[in-house]
Symmetry: C2
Subunit: 401 residues, 2 copies
């Protein structure tokens, strides 16, 4: 008998109609002879509503109590889903994070799963029960309720699939798979049948937004067969695995991320320790830096540029002003009217033609490249925000995706 | 250091303003040097809202899943209350039923508390933390969430007070104590300072509606000092204990209960086993019978009358029709246009004048008595529904309450 872990997000269980739709997917999987563990998020806007309730009482509420509050969202949706399956005559039981043995560390609000105590899960599956598990939550070793942070239900599902050695972990969302580009942006973007963990990771980081990054990392680590598919259609989704069928295509997809600001500190002394000074200060303030570029030294000075998310722009700017003053730099330039456009593909590194083809496409579209960054399976460029949609389309066409 | 258990009902925590009001009561108690365990119900209409959600999905949902769903209500209110106390700078921690060690039997929806595992509670109190506990809920020995049924938060509070040997258990409601009669019915009803457990039990059963009956039984069993008081005023409430100061007054209060239907089965054979047949059938269908009267036999037949709550009327009638047919009875009479009016008082039994004084008052008010039932500390009469308010006032006046 195969075991399938299925995860359903908040929109997939937002009302009674959607809950019955999800129950039908589970029932079909179960009746086909599989054991099923279903992981659910809170219904629609429940989490936001609970946060609003807490804000009204205490905007500085402790993270421990926030976790107690927020974890009720999944508890509600899991019991409603179980009731729907009961109505369909199926044997089912719902389990909260602690009942399902989801043991986490104590970082309330952003916990990591340490271990899954499988005893209860194994018992219920042995009885051929469908098991509904509350996503996003667990307990720490003091028996306090913890949450994994936003998007954590994906991680719950993958962790359960890994612990239970599931044959497949299906992530149901409101899109039917991973696309070569955002279909709202690129008309002829198409769904990929398969993609590797690393490619998915790059795409997730780049704002493709389909899967929570930590869940993909965990799937790769434990070699969990992932599939992203839609709860709204019956179409096959995109499979994410270690090795995919070799295809001619090197480039897996194009992604765009507009949540980016570029900051440059100009004319700082070209001497050791400057970069350390800058990035250790940013790290101390928990500012996540994405792309980093350092110009080669000239006239004893150099320029250092980096990108941060827009919410970190102000803080980063303040830190840089300070450093600029202390180091005798020539000033700060900041631009947040930009976009990061990236291509991702596993075979890219060994194919030097890929980068030039991308740059050629942008050049032909008369789009100026402001910054370039490359990794093993990714090339990112910064372009003006107004150019980004044309850039994605130009690249998509050039690579014939 | 004294330990005070305080219980707050759903209306006492229904919104942010009321939650801060409750937090202030707790803070005052804590700052006066007491340890505090606060038990909370779900906010306002939360439980009804959750039941409506379940009804939409599956009107026949299992009681286990209903308990999973309903228990979120108290979890939400306990965390919000904890956040309010955090905001006031007080050390506080909220605990669900299972975290607080509330171990129950497995009767989902109407569980009984078997034992309280005090370890976590003791630890938190030793740290001088205010402990907020979700009322109404626990876990069974399979680690499944259970609920104690409506009004169960009172029982949670008393059980905690008993287990922790609390010095006082305060039940905060929207009335400020136990009255000699319903103040909405009787203008000059007055609040009692003290009352015994037994008197309170009779009053609770009679529909005074201030305290959940099981909680009073448990308080009596474990000799927990109870106090009923209002979260809206600072007035002292009513203390409920084993022995109260001896007062001249024998009668403690007058109560009225309109949720009553009288059923009579007429002219059944006056032979052994008839009563058994009737009441075993009712018990098998879980119909709670209140007053039972059996006429003396005449012409070889007798009449048996009893009262049930109105929700059980139809079922009881059907059972009686059946028995009437099988036994060759002369028919069934049913009347639900009636009310039960009762007086309660510990010294009543040794004072034969009490009953006659009550009947005299009713007679003078020209109110017909349909049925009479007496116990050690209670006399109940059935009167026409339209007479009940006058009956309560007449009795209240007669006994000079």
């Amino acid at each position: 008998m195969n075991l399938v872990v299925q995860k359903f997000g908040g929109t997939s269980v937002k009302d009674a109609e959607r809950i019955f739709n999800v129950a039908q997917i589970i029932a079909d999987t179960y009746r086909a002879g599989n054991n099923v563990v279903a992981v659910v998020s809170a219904q629609g806007d429940t989490t936001d509503d609970l946060i609003a309730k807490a804000q009204e009482i205490n905007p500085m509420a402790s993270k421990r109590e926030m976790d107690v509050l927020l974890s009720t969202g999944e508890q509600i949706s899991m019991s409603l889903l179980a009731m729907a399956l009961e109505r369909m005559g199926l044997p089912v039981i719902s389990l909260t994070g602690w009942q399902a043995g989801m043991l986490t560390d104590s970082t309330h609000g952003a916990s990591r799963i340490r271990r899954i105590n499988k005893e209860r899960l194994d018992n219920e599956l042995a009885k051929r029960n469908i098991v509904i598990v509350a996503g996003f939550q667990g307990i720490n070793r003091y028996d306090d309720i913890t949450t994994l942070g936003r998007g954590g239900s994906d991680t719950s599902a993958v962790a359960l699939a890994a612990a239970l050695h599931a044959d497949l972990c299906q992530i149901y969302t409101d899109v039917d798979g991973v696309y070569t580009a955002d279909p709202r942006l690129v008309k002829n973007a198409h769904k990929m049948d398969e993609i590797t963990y690393d490619e998915m990771l790059e795409l997730a980081t780049l704002g493709a937004g389909v899967l929570h990054n930590r869940s993909v990392e965990m799937a790769k680590k434990y070699n969990v067969n992932l599939e992203v598919l839609s709860s709204y259609t019956k179409n096959p989704g995109t499979k994410i695995k270690e090795v995919v069928k070799v295809e001619k295509m090197l480039i897996r997809g194009v992604a765009r991320d507009n949540d980016v600001a570029r900051i440059s500190i100009i004319g700082v002394p070209d001497q050791p320790g400057i970069a350390f000074k800058i990035f250790s200060q940013l790290a101390a303030k928990k500012v996540n830096v994405d792309i980093i570029l350092q110009s080669i030294g000239r006239d004893g000075t150099k320029d250092i540029s980096f990108t941060v998310s827009r919410s970190h722009k102000q803080l980063a700017l303040e830190l840089m002003e300070e450093i600029n003053e202390r180091c005798g730099g020539k000033g700060i330039i900041c631009d947040d009217n930009i976009s990061k456009v990236s291509i991702v593909g596993a075979g890219m590194q060994s194919n030097p033609g890929v980068a030039s083809k991308m740059f050629e496409a942008l050049s032909e579209a008369n789009i100026n490249i402001q910054m370039i960054s490359t990794s093993e399976i990714k090339i990112s460029v910064l372009v003006a925000l107004g150019d980004s949609e044309r850039a994605v389309n130009a690249i998509h066409d050039a690579f014939d995706l």
